[in-house]
C-alpha cells in the first residue's frame, strides 16, 4: 500500500497556506468593546433584577410572617386542660370528698 504520510503532511501545509493572513478591520476593536458593553449592561440588568426580586421576596416573606403571627394570636383558642389534667383534678375532688365523709362519720349513700 502506498505511503500517504508525506502527501497528508503536504496537504496540511497547503491548507495552512490557503488562508491568507487575516488583518482585523478597523471596526474590530470598537466591535469588541461594543459587545463587552452590551454584555456588561445585560449582566448589570440581570443583577439589578435579581436584587429587586430578592428584596421583594424578603418583604413579602416578612409581611406573610407578620400576618401569620397576628392571625395566629387572634384565633388561638384558650389552652384546654388535657385529658390527664381533667382526670387528675376529678380524682383530687373524689379524694377530698372521701376524706370529708370520713371526718364527719357519714357513709357513702351508695
Amino acid at each position: 500500500m502506498k505511503n500517504l504520510e508525506p502527501e497528508l503532511d503536504e496537504l496540511f501545509r497547503a491548507y495552512r497556506q490557503s488562508f491568507a493572513d487575516v488583518d482585523p478591520s478597523a471596526g474590530f476593536m470598537p466591535g469588541v468593546w461594543e459587545k463587552i458593553e452590551a454584555r456588561r449592561s445585560l449582566a448589570f440588568r440581570v443583577t439589578h433584577l435579581a436584587r429587586a426580586f430578592l428584596g421583594a421576596t424578603a418583604v413579602l416573606f416578612t409581611l406573610m410572617a407578620g400576618i401569620f403571627v397576628l392571625a395566629g394570636e387572634r384565633t388561638t383558642p384558650e389552652p384546654h386542660e388535657s385529658y390527664l389534667d381533667s382526670l387528675a383534678s376529678a380524682h383530687a375532688t373524689d379524694s377530698m370528698m372521701e376524706s370529708m365523709h370520713a371526718e364527719t362519720g357519714e357513709t357513702n349513700p351508695q
Binding site: 500500500m1 497528508l8 503532511d9 496537504l11 490557503s18 488562508f19 474590530f28 476593536m29 463587552i36
Partner: protein, 191 residues
C-alpha cells in the same frame, strides 16, 4: 509572549487600556487560528470578537499571567468549536429549506465569481475538510492545532489540560482515520 506579564496583570486587575493593548497584540494571531479552524473567512472577525469578549470577562479566573497564551488558545478553540456546532445546525436547517435546483444554481453563481487562485485555495480546504469529516469535531480541532497551527505536544497539553500520552493516542488515531480517508479518495479518483 507578545506582551509582557505586567500588561496581562494590569488587564486582569481591570485596566481597560491595558486590555485593549493585549487585544491589539493578539488579535491577528487569534484571527489566523480561527480562520484555519472554522474555514469561513466571513465569520472570522465575529468569532474573534467573541473570543476577546470571553477573555475580558474571564481574565479574573486566570491563575497567573504566565499561562495566558495557552489559556487564550483554549478560549479560541472553544469559541471556534461553539461556532462550528452552531454552523452545523444552521446548515442542516438551510439544506432542508433549499430544493436541489436552488442548491445547484446557488453553487453555479458562487462558482462564477470566484477567481482561479481563490478556487485553488478553496479546493484544498474542501479536500481537507472532506477528509476530516471522518473524525469527531474535537479530534478535527486537535489535529488542526497540531498539524496546521504547529503546536507542540507540550503546548497542546497546556491547552487541553490532558496528559500528553492521551493526546498522542488521540492524534495517532485521528491521523490514521484521515490517512484512510485519503487512501479511499485517491482510489476513487483513480477509478
Amino acid at each position: 509572549m507578545l506582551v509582557d506579564f505586567a500588561e496581562i496583570e494590569r488587564a486582569r486587575s481591570g485596566d481597560d487600556a491595558a486590555f485593549s493593548r493585549v487585544v491589539a497584540a493578539y488579535r491577528k494571531r487569534v484571527l489566523g487560528t480561527i480562520a484555519r479552524l472554522i474555514g469561513q473567512p466571513d465569520d472570522v472577525e465575529d468569532v474573534g470578537q467573541e473570543v476577546f469578549v470571553r477573555v475580558y470577562f474571564s481574565l479574573g479566573r486566570l491563575r497567573t499571567p504566565e499561562v495566558f497564551e495557552p489559556w487564550l488558545y483554549r478560549m479560541t478553540v472553544n469559541a471556534a468549536y461553539d461556532y462550528l456546532r452552531k454552523r452545523r445546525r444552521r446548515a442542516e436547517r438551510r439544506m432542508s429549506d433549499l430544493s436541489d435546483q436552488q442548491m445547484i444554481s446557488a453553487d453555479a453563481v458562487a462558482g462564477m465569481v470566484r477567481d482561479v487562485e481563490h478556487r485553488r485555495r478553496t479546493g484544498i480546504r474542501e479536500k481537507l475538510d472532506q477528509l476530516l469529516t471522518g473524525v469527531s469535531e474535537d479530534d478535527r480541532i486537535l489535529l488542526l492545532l497540531k498539524e496546521v497551527e504547529g503546536l507542540s505536544l507540550k503546548e497542546l497539553e497546556e491547552v487541553y489540560h490532558v496528559n500528553g500520552n492521551a493526546l498522542k493516542v488521540r492524534l495517532f488515531r485521528a491521523r490514521q482515520r484521515v490517512l484512510k480517508a485519503l487512501a479511499a479518495s485517491e482510489k476513487e479518483t483513480a477509478v
